[in-house]
Amino acid sequence: MKNEKEIVRLTLTQHFFIHNFIQFATHVLDPAIEVHDLVRTFQKRHHEPVRAVDGVSFEVRRGEIFGLLGPNGAGKTTTIKILTTLLAPTSGTARILGHDVVADPLGVRRQICVVVQENAVELYLSVRNNFRTFGRFHGMTSKEIEERTNRVTELFGLREYLNEKGLDLSGGLKRRVQVAKTFMIDKPIVFLDEATTGMDAFNKRATIEAIKENARKGRTIVLTTHILDEAEELCDAVAIVNRGRIIAGGSVEDVKSMSLRLLYLTLSLKTVSEEVLRTIQEREPLHVDIKNNTIEVTVREATAALDVLTAVKQTGSLEHFEISSASLEDVFLQLIDKKASID
């Protein structure tokens, strides 16, 4: 009898833990952002309607840094505007931590902070008062505002500008203040629309480090950028957008693998002889570029790269070589170019 009771108690305890674990796991595994078949059409008088966002779908996991990449006018900012409740979608759905952007915009706004594409600084207020008003809007106490202002001004090198008015700041400094404000608060989701635009190298680095640190703390970050090196360094996942549609998406490695395994061989030679050139051309590379005593060869697959390398080495003129795979920028340009030629 006693054993039966113990078994029941044990089973209940196990059940309790399993139930809670499932709940916790479901919560953690739920995507932070779910976008399904999002469409936004703009209609100007006497003009055909333009589909700025044309059936975009993607998910962003919690704690992930997600990049929306694409050329100007691709629909990145319109997508961000819909996700941040600045713009209503024409159709489709978007949910931020379970809150629908149309049905519960306030619920969404309570979960997010945003660096909009425009320079958003109070021109008539000092930098300190910019931080104060921002903190107040986000429900911080005066003490918290003071502490966090100290932290972000240190991080973004703004201490000496605290008493300067927004009006007197350069474009890059205004952007710095705008980005710094975002890192004052602990909202679970951060949207950064071209956040590093206009910043110098020092502040770009500070911003990238702040983004990384925040992602490590579990914040989900969605960013748009033109600078693909930045995206490659930061993002866990990306979506490449062109003309309102996602043309490639997934982890950075997944997207890079869409380059059809392109490899770049940089061969430094004693002299660029006819023999070396013929040897390379016989192996039918995709592209050959000669600069002084250096030849850059583009091939597909590692075996082709090895073949070229071995053959050139046998000519006896090879001094040094480097092999690199396609960067995100190569893939991006390739995809955009391919899409343009199809259209």
Binding site: R109, C113, V116, V121, L123, R136, F137, H138
Partner: protein
């Protein structure tokens, strides 16, 4: 409430940076009354004959000056949307954790406080310098009337500001509208002495309702039933404007 107060705090900080703006906000109605009112008072000499009563023009004009100043405050405040839009901060505001209604309420709450100060300064000057007889027992209601008037016009003008993208177009539209609304109202002259067509149009103008209500609350001119009707009319105008302004702001981008 915290959200609304955050907007008020922001408006306060910005206004504090410009003493010139502050001065004009507070002193312009006063100057109108002292210059325009005094000149007409002298020109008309024996005052205005309204029904059985004779009212000095200064006293008659006080209600007009007050509604003029609340319209002016609302105009300034709605113009601020263009400044915020040019600065980019407008878009950032709309991503803050507050509703569009809270944002609009916060924007006008500070201006309402300014309107109350304007009203007190103008009434004080009217009493001390122009010897206008004020119904002091209704002063509190007059102050409330100023706040309601400022808010009503602000929400109405906000609708226009959200729909027009260019500030020069907005300025033109608003200045023309202001001119028409002013002269098609009871602001400068009693309506029972104007042509019937003008009277009919003016009776439909919310600026007439506000001016008449403020006139009743400051110098006691008019009947309670007319006051009540016009006050209710203005209340409906305010609520409708607020609702429409929120709707427009939701689609403003």
């Amino acid at each position: 409430m915290r959200e609304v107060l955050a907007v008020v705090y922001r408006e306060y900080l910005i206004r504090r940076t410009s003493p010139t703006w502050l001065f004009f906000d507070l002193a312009v109605p006063l100057l109108y009354l002292l210059m325009f009112g005094v000149a007409f008072d002298k020109a008309l000499g024996h005052g205005l004959r309204i029904g059985e009563a004779t009212v000095p023009y200064n006293a008659f004009f006080l209600g007009g000056v007050l509604s003029m100043s609340s319209f002016g405050s609302a105009m300034n405040q709605s113009y601020g949307f263009f400044v915020d839009r040019d600065n980019g901060i407008f878009y950032e505001f709309l991503t803050y954790p507050m509703t569009r209604g809270q944002f609009l309420l916060g924007k006008i709450l500070f201006q309402c406080a300014m309107a109350v100060i304007q009203c007190m300064l103008t009434i004080a000057a009217g009493t001390l310098l122009l010897e206008i007889n004020i119904r002091w027992e209704l002063l509190l209601f007059a102050l409330i009337g100023m706040m309601i008037g400022t808010a009503g016009w602000f929400f109405f003008l906000a609708i226009v500001a959200f729909r027009i993208r260019r500030n020069d177009t907005f300025n033109t539209v608003i200045n023309v509208a202001y001119f028409v609304l002013m002269f098609l109202s009871s602001m400068f002259y009693p309506l029972d002495q104007v042509p019937s067509w003008l009277r009919a149009i003016s009776r439909m103008n919310p600026l007439t309702w506000q001016t008449d209500a403020l006139r009743f609350l400051t110098i006691g001119l008019g009947t309670f039933s007319t006051f009540l009707l016009e006050a209710l009319g203005f209340g409906a105008f305010l609520l409708l404007s607020f609702w429409f302004a929120v709707r427009t702001l939701q689609k403003a981008l």
